[in-house]
Amino acid sequence: MTQERRRDPFRVQTGPRLGRRLTRAVALGAGTALLVSGLIFDLFVYVSLRAAMVDDITVQARIVAENSSAAILFSDAAAAGQTLAGLQASPLIEYAELREMLGRKVATYAASGVRTARRTAGPTLAPGAHLFAGGRLYVSQPVREGGREVGSVHLVATLDELHQRVATYVATTLLAGVVAFALAFLLVIRIRRELDDTERKLDFLAYFDPVTGLPNRHAASEQIQVLIETVGRSSDGFALLLIDLDDFKVVNDTLGHGAGDELLKALSARLTQFMRPNDVAFRFGGDEFVILAPRVADRTHQMLLGQAAMLAFDAPLMVGTHELRVRGSVGVAQFPHDAQDAAGLIRAADTAMYHAKSIGKNTYALFDSDMDRGALRRMQLEADLRDAVQRGELRLVYQPIVELASQRLCGVEALIRWAHPELGMVSPVEFIPVAEYSGLIVDIGQWVLHTACAQLKAWSDDGHDQLFVAVNVSARQIRRGLKAQVDAALEATGVDPRRLEIEITEHSMVEDIESNMEQLRALRQLGVQVAVDDFGTGLSSLAYLKRLPIGKLKIDRAFIKDLPASTDDAAIASAIISMARSLGLTVVAEGVETEAQRDFLLAQGCEWVQGFFYSRPVAPEAVTVLLREQLRTGCLTIGPLQVATA
């Protein structure tokens, strides 16, 4: 009920247009067709009847003429009258006259009941002619005898009966037309009802999302236009809240799409629960929602709306038997302050939403123009990144990974750097998301693999054949066929696959776990090492760990930073290490910066470490120096590596 009320403010504006047009077309078409065909038919009947009547009366005139020649020749009025009296059998004939050649009447006949005024032969007609005038038919025929014209017969027939008959035809036609029209109309009404239903269904499909029952993106676009038109008239502006669920893919991938849909449904039911009745939610895309909040002008109001929207994520949602806690990021933008049109408004909300995501997700952000500048910078980065590989602006630096037990440099993690010609050094934290978003990550990833493998080959040729290189790959790279890319890089450089390590994040794994696992398994079969990066920050599901074909975990720097002082982090770190050991995995601790951290990890049995304590990421030449030093001394370089930072 509440739900219904909340959807009320948005109504599909379009009525059943097709049905109305069909009814109108049928009414007009059928009506005109029936009327025109009926009238044509009636006209045809009228003309035919008139022609038949002329024929009929002419024949009678001829019969009279044939039988009255003697009467005319002998001026026998009685015989002539007798002949004319035979016309009584023809009810149409009102008056008849026989004339001699000189025009003298020999005999006349008038049907009973014909007024005296009508007892006239009418206008003078040439013998053999006929004339319709004044509702009567005048027919004249010559009387001949012995090849000589001896007189004429004149018949006058009433058209009343013909007119009555035609009127009857017209009435019948109209009646039949009305009946046919009524039947057609009944049929049309039935069709129209079906059409209206279909149209309503189509409208529903066009304007509503079948999964959540919320109005869809199309509806949102229209409603935005409607709201834009109210600005300046009945409102000072309105707000658009763009909501994107965080990690929704995880739900879909782990619990199935059915559960994902259930979650969306459950969430959509409460999206506007904490908002005003006039705030309407729309499903904008896969896991994106839009809430349109009319009559919102100031930023305080927008903040309240953002908070109200976030309330929807507070309570866990029940999906089947699972209790799920969904998180979302909300971007708020206001019209007309933040944009001049609908597209701009959505873009602004989108920018704010990404900002909310970038500041840690599960929060909301109001749009401001600084964000737009950020978005502009992202657009510039994306444009420039396309050419960065060709222009050689990208390069790799390597951070040493040290084996704690032996204190030897055993591997390096390849890290990307971008020297932008105008902006200077651009942080991977900034450009990697852009590359991910734009899809450039695939090309860049390929370049990274090649470059890292080529470097590895160079080190291997230099005698450091036990060194490994860890390369980070993105989810998108895995999806686009990581195996093929790795194969290509290995083939091109000829390095030992066992010396290559692929680092993946938990997030990138869970997006399409089945396909990813297949790829990783194939890599493992080649001998390539697979490590899970930033372990502990994502879902950290033990079920994943068991299923994934991995050999190494990298504990995220977040858990190392406060070691050993933080007992929580200490507990987490030692738990991860012991768990990894029992699963047969080795562990790398990232972000080791102090000796105390190093000692703690050593004590916990962590095999590998990397961090500023040993070395920052450095240029490959610096690594070469270290490696050569290590090789030359036969011993390892103990303690922090003293090398120039990259």
Binding site: N67, S69, A70, A71, L73, F74, S75, D76, A77, A78, A79, Q82, R104, E145, G146, G147, R148
Partner: protein
Amino acid sequence: MLRRSQSRPSIWLLALVGVFACARAWAVDEGELKAAIIFNVLLFVEWPADVAPPPGSPMVLCLNPGAALGPALKALQGRELRGTRLDVRDAVPLANAQGCHAAFIDGSDSLRAASPTKAGGVLVISDDMPQASPLAALTLRRAGNRIALDVNLEAARNARLQLSSKLLRVSHVVKE
């Protein structure tokens, strides 16, 4: 036709009374009127093929030079009739007349008792006879101020003539 007409005697009585109820009555000369009637009668008679005027030949009306209607009839000389013309001739004696299609006899005809139409094929029209001639198929008769036409069908049959039913409708049949 005849049987039918006889079955309705009242109509024929009416016809007879009304016959030749010319509005003109005697405004014209009685002789001319009779001549016109005789001329018109010729329209309604069919001659047997052997005596009918061949194409191009006139229809011959013979009369006693002394006949009272002689001048009136002769005035019709050459008039077009049924696609040919009328030839009015004096025939003496009328009984010997050859090539006549019609013969007019009246009281002045001394040969009125003779039978000029033994061979048949001649329409005898009589007028003003004290006693009807058995040879005359048609007889003009005064009836009040009108001229009536009596038909003797037996005479017509004997003369092998066919009288049109139209003529019979305006005539009085005196002998079947």
